[in-house]
């Protein structure tokens, strides 16, 4: 439900420009506050502005940087696992939503493993993780032609220590978005 709030204050006229502020916060943040509309010309014939809906996503959040920091580009996997846990699915649902709102972006999903394992098996393990993410995003409506996958196995750890605290960060799939609608 969208409420339209019209100012009844005196037309201070030029003092206050029209503000249609839409805070398109990501799902991880608090629920967005109700939209605020300041309309100095309310009631004036031919004037004024009426809120008619949110600005399409992309004008404020349609950047790779926004995707990385607000949507979340990384999902983690349990040890030896390539299935998506609850936390991963939550992040991926946001990714899918973002990708649908930002149809001009394509994505490469990087699969990674921790260093506990042989080189080529870890490449295959990373590929399977990337594939699991790809499958989920497609199921959530992202076009298959916009998604590619790559595995780095254990070649590009996110954290470099050699205990579980780092291994857990390295068993991951990273969704890298880039302008261009894919193949």
């Amino acid at each position: 439900m969208t409420t339209i709030w019209k100012s009844r204050t005196k037309p201070a006229a030029w003092l206050a420009p029209v503000l249609a502020l839409v805070l398109a916060l990501s799902a991880c943040a608090a629920p967005p506050p109700p939209p605020l509309v300041v309309d100095p010309y309310a009631g004036a014939p031919g004037g004024g502005a009426v809120y008619t809906g949110p600005v399409p996503a992309g004008s404020l959040n349609g950047t790779a940087e926004y995707f990385r920091t607000n949507v979340g580009d990384t999902v983690l996997f349990d040890r030896d696992q390539t299935t998506l846990n609850d936390g991963a699915r939550t992040v991926l649902a946001r990714q899918a939503e973002w990708l649908q709102q930002n149809g001009s972006f394509s994505t490469v999903i990087q699969g990674h493993s921790d260093e506990q394992g042989t080189r080529e098996f870890n490449l295959a393990l990373g590929a399977r993780r990337a594939g699991a993410v790809q499958e989920y995003l497609i199921a959530r409506g992202v076009g298959a032609n916009r998604i590619r996958t790559v595995s780095f196995g254990k070649e590009r750890p996110a954290a470099t220590c050699s205990d579980e605290s780092c291994f857990a960060q390295n068993r991951r799939a990273v969704t890298v978005v880039q302008p261009g609608a894919g193949t």
Binding site: D80, T82, V108, E115, Q116, G117, T118, R119, E120, F121, L123, A124, L125, A127, R128, R129, A130, G131, A132, Q134, E135, R148, T149, V150, S151, F152, E155, R156, P157, A158, A159, T160, C161, S162
Partner: protein, 465 residues
């Protein structure tokens, strides 16, 4: 100018065959490694043993004391003599099977390469074998000669031999001579005159730079085959050592690359661009390339005819199949698969027909198998908890032996004679470093390969002609 037919590595004085050769000294080299039921599991070669030294962790095999008399300069070889002798000595002692008797302990070194041997004096210092040698340089050719004597029986052990090499290839002549000594004293095939491809590593752990290099088996004569601007993995040589296959991320995605070692000309092996492909290997006859191919998250093993580019799945299913290695006769393939739930090793016929047979049943996870070039053993990586091991077993999985243990040992590759394995050992932590090590099939003689810088993914090429 020296005529081409003078330059070569062939023996000048053809030696007798092993059968003809009297071998009173033939030591029971791998007697304890003969996988007999009585052979005890050797103590593990532990990590971090400090400076180079032979690790004999079990009192069964004592290195054989041999003497290498100071080599002679037979003309123009003054600058070369000591270096040739050092390479030969290092080759022999590096096996862990021999120890040399110090020069100062030698009572009566011969006056010349052809002088008679005072066996009594060599017996007195407990030398069981004596190597003599001479080095000469004429123009751009170095000539290395050696003779080998059985001190206790007081006679030559086979004929002396002579090797010619270009001067800048002097190490190869030394390796050839050492190979003959090793072979005569052990009955094993030689392996010193061989090369290894590997991956050189620089930069921080989360942004490692990698490039492929090639070097002599002992770490000398390093040469770079790729630069470090592109991530490269898993170099593998053809059986003749002339061609190289590897995985490159030049396009941003893993792809198969092939290179002619001599010209360093590289070409991409054509594969479906919608898939990831990695880990290529040649079949022993060079006719096929087998490789790992990912599609939709699932990795299978495919086979390609490189002349036509035609490829087909060889080993497939909804599980990871990767890291294949051919048997030396090309009839079978051992590979790594998690079809049972965890990574294990399986053997299947090389045409992919029939059900893969699981051969690994020990504790933990198995991977990165390498079939020995003489066919008797398969080396592998085994992870048990947080520890990694290099091990060997028969191709049916029997008579398993654990050779090493550390935080991370992986990726064994065989010396051309199938008696020594080289592998990657990585130390833990953010500043952890990968180094190459070698270990013999008894697990007794483990040592680092002495090269500058960090290195991983060795693949040991053939004995050079």
């Amino acid at each position: 100018m020296v005529s081409a037919d003078r330059v070569g590595y062939g023996p000048r004085e053809p030696g007798r065959t092993n059968e003809q050769m009297c071998r009173p000294l033939l030591i029971a080299l791998f007697a304890a490694a003969t996988f007999g039921v009585a052979a005890p599991l050797p103590a593990l070669a532990q990590e971090d043993t400090g400076p180079l030294r032979i690790e004999i962790t079990e009192g069964v095999v004592e290195p054989m004391p041999i003497a290498v008399a100071p080599f002679f300069d037979a003309g123009g070889g003054a600058g070369m003599v000591a270096r040739v002798q050092q390479v030969l000595t290092d080759d022999l002692t590096g096996t862990g099977l021999f120890r040399t008797i110090a020069d100062q302990a030698q009572i009566a070194p011969p006056d010349s390469f052809d002088a008679p041997i005072a066996y009594e004096d060599w017996r007195a210092v407990n030398a069981e074998a004596l190597v003599t040698g001479a080095v000469s340089v004429a123009g751009d050719v170095v000539t290395v000669r050696f003779r080998l004597y059985d001190v206790f029986s007081g006679q030559a052990l086979g004929d002396g031999m002579q090797f010619d090499a270009p001067v800048d290839g002097w190490r190869r002549a030394a390796h050839k001579a050492a190979d003959q000594v090793y072979s005569r004293l052990t009955g094993e095939a030689p392996y010193f005159d061989s090369r290894v491809v590997f991956v050189n590593e620089t930069g921080p752990k989360d942004a490692r730079l990698k490039r492929i290099g090639i070097m002599d088996f002992d770490g000398a004569n390093q040469m770079w085959l790729t630069d470090d601007t592109t991530l490269v993995l898993s170099p593998k040589l053809s059986r003749d050592g002339k061609r190289l296959l590897y995985t490159s991320y030049e396009t941003g995605f893993p792809r198969l690359m092939a290179m002619d070692i001599e010209t360093m000309a590289e070409v991409e092996v054509p594969t479906d661009p919608q898939t990831m492909t990695f880990g290529p290997r040649f079949s022993p006859d060079g006719r096929w390339i087998i490789f790992s191919r990912e599609q939709g998250g699932n990795t299978d093993i495919w086979q390609m005819d490189p002349s036509s580019g035609a490829a087909r799945p060889l080993i497939e299913g909804p599980f990871i199949d990767t890291a294949p290695s051919y048997s030396p006769d090309g009839t079978r393939i051992v590979f790594e698969s998690d079809r049972s739930g965890s990574p294990q090793l399986y053997v299947v016929s090389a045409d992919g027909t029939g059900e893969p047979l699981r051969i690994s049943f020990g504790q933990g996870r198995y991977g990165a198998p390498a079939w020995s070039p003489i066919g008797d053993l398969i080396a592998f990586t085994r992870q048990d908890g947080d520890r990694f091991h290099i091990g060997v077993f028969r191709p049916d999985g029997s008579e398993e032996k654990t050779l090493t243990e550390s935080f991370l040992d992986e990726g064994p590759t065989w010396a051309p004679n199938g008696r020594v394995v080289m592998f990657t050992r990585q130390t833990p932590g953010g500043d952890g470093v990968a180094r190459l090590h070698s270990v013999d099939v008894t697990g007794r003689n483990m040592r680092p390969v002495t090269i500058e810088g960090a290195a991983s993914d060795p693949d040991w090429g053939p004995l050079l002609p």
